[in-house]
């Protein structure tokens, strides 16, 4: 029961939408890529940056997850309290698929500052959170679904032979698919 409450609290404090005064991140309906969070940070709006990263973190952007880890480690004045347990959990989520030395060093450093009870909380939270929160992706562009069948039909219509062995084709519109 205690474990369940703790996990709920973690999810709540990081994501359940509420007003800014209680320190939780706020729901942002408009799509923002990772770069928007960086711009907000550099423009001296860390609270807004935190909210953008928070939304992206729950969608699986590992960079935003690591940003949350750093925010929770330091705290944001009048916005979020420092929380080393959350910091390590987010960093471990971010480091699950895209392992880097920088994240590993961060985890090691913050873990060394935690008491034994904190380390146990990290393990419990991480094992639950990693089943619910995706990771390992970069959210830089808005996903645009493509009708592959239509693209192929258009492509086949435009394909022609130039007389050489090389087929010359008009590239169809919308070549890129972002996943």
């Amino acid at each position: 029961m205690k474990k369940l409450m703790f996990i709920t609290l973690f999810l709540y404090s990081s994501f359940v939408y509420s007003n800014q005064s209680d320190g939780a991140c706020k729901k942002i309906d408009t799509f923002f890529p990772y770069k928007a969070g960086i711009v907000a940070e550099k423009s001296g709006e860390p609270e807004y940056a935190f909210d953008i990263f928070c939304n992206l973190a729950f969608k699986g952007d590992y960079r935003a997850q690591f940003k949350l880890a750093q925010y929770y480690n330091q705290g944001l004045e009048n916005y979020i309290e420092p929380n080393k347990v959350y910091a390590v959990v987010w960093a471990r989520i971010a480091n699950t698929k895209i392992l880097t030395r920088r994240k590993s060093n961060f985890i090691e450093q913050v873990m060394s500052e935690l008491p034994d009870t904190g380390i146990n909380q990290v393990d419990e939270l991480y094992s639950s959170a990693i089943r619910m929160i995706p990771t390992g992706i970069r959210i830089d562009m808005k996903y645009k679904p493509l009708d592959l069948k239509k693209i192929l039909e258009e492509h086949n219509k435009k394909q022609q032979y130039t007389g050489s062995r090389i087929k010359r084709s008009e590239p169809p519109a919308g070549l890129g698919i972002i996943e």
């Binding site: 890529p33 990772y34 770069k35 960086i38 960079r63 698929k97 895209i98 392992l99 880097t100 030395r101 920088r102 590993s104 390992g136 992706i137 970069r138 830089d140 562009m141 645009k144 493509l146 592959l148 693209i151 192929l152 492509h155 090389i166 010359r168 084709s169 590239p171 169809p172 519109a173 919308g174 070549l175 890129g176 698919i177 972002i178 996943e179």
Partner: protein
């Protein structure tokens, strides 16, 4: 004659790429405070030439060289900012992706793994496959890999 001109142009373009692209096993030039690495994998059935990137901040387009058919990693040393993979040459055909292609944000002092690009006709797919990149990086740039991934350079 036409082939000669094309080859000369490709060689010229490829030589321009050396400023950004890390050559396998070459000594690393330390990152400046505003620079980071961009790493990506290209999986292609045909050799690709004049792979072109765009810097969104400066609007500068630049060429990052060529890749043989098969799977190759490309690692670039670039100033922080948003970059897009916008196109390439294949045989005598130029392919330009729509909507600025595939874009990502490069952070300073980081190894920014982009994605693996499965270049096929007519659709290029992009998906994360970090393990493949690290495996290729271990061969081409072991020092960088150990510095930014882990001491074993292994996942």
């Amino acid at each position: 004659m036409r082939k000669l001109i094309i080859i000369s142009c490709l060689m010229f373009i490829t030589s321009c790429a050396s400023e950004y692209k890390l050559k396998p096993n070459a000594e690393l030039v330390p990152l400046k405070s505003n620079e980071g690495y961009l790493g990506l994998v290209i999986n292609t059935l045909d050799p690709l030439y004049a792979i072109q990137m765009l810097s969104v901040e400066t609007d500068q387009t630049f060429y990052i060289g060529s890749v043989k058919k098969g799977t190759s990693q490309i690692t670039l040393q670039l100033p922080e900012g948003e970059y897009c993979f916008i196109g390439f040459d294949v045989y005598d055909l130029r392919i330009d992706y729509t909507d600025k292609g595939f874009c990502t944000y490069i952070e300073a002092n980081e190894l920014n793994y982009f994605n693996e690009f499965l270049v096929r006709n007519p659709v290029t797919r992009s998906y994360p496959n970090y393990k493949k990149y690290v495996d290729l990086l271990r061969v081409d740039h072991p020092v960088l890999c150990k510095k930014f991934v882990n001491s074993e350079c292994s996942l």
